[in-house]
Symmetry: C2
Subunit: 124 residues, 2 copies
Amino acid sequence: MAASAESLASASVVGAQGPATTGQVVHTVYFWLKNPDSVADRDALIAGLKTLRQVPAVKSLHVGVPANTEKRDVVDNSFSVFELMFFDDLAGQATYQQDPIHLAFVENCSHLWDKVVVHDSFTV
Amino acid sequence: MAASAESLASASVVGAQGPATTGQVVHTVYFWLKNPDSVADRDALIAGLKTLRQVPAVKSLHVGVPANTEKRDVVDNSFSVFELMFFDDLAGQATYQQDPIHLAFVENCSHLWDKVVVHDSFTV
């Protein structure tokens, strides 16, 4: 019965054998600053992130700071700065990684952060 | 000197005393399924998330699954399903939490996940 259910589900748009491999990529990055109380460091990182808008592969860029939404066990707003990007596809994301503007950002700003967590998703 | 730098930075759009308290809210949620290999469970969660588009406070909704981007130390694509929403402001996000469509989603789908991590940001 389980095998049958799996078989039916394999008709799903996202495929049965793991994540989809085509389509729009949503790229989110959370930064924890080395000096979390430094407004100057935070603003330098924000300014650096905003240069990434010039990368042709980046279709949309949002930069954020933690919002003071209700404190709940599932909410982690301990990060300092947030970055959200959309790419047309996996190739766009790969191109971005090697773009000179992105490489300059990493060179100029990576000393600011202590920890970074990236998640990449395909829109379904 | 440090105090002076802090003082100058206080003119920043995001304020000197912590996160901004107005403006667009970006709400991201990462779900780890109880049965991560179940395509049926994943698709039930995806279908449930898509009902949230009907919540008036939700200005934009993207649902995703992990993308097979390059494996790097900073990339965590271990989650099963991703949700991204935009709200006009903090009040919109609070309204959403109590919306009957959202409450029905939690009632119908929360048995599917083992862990959920939420991050909320103000766009700067």
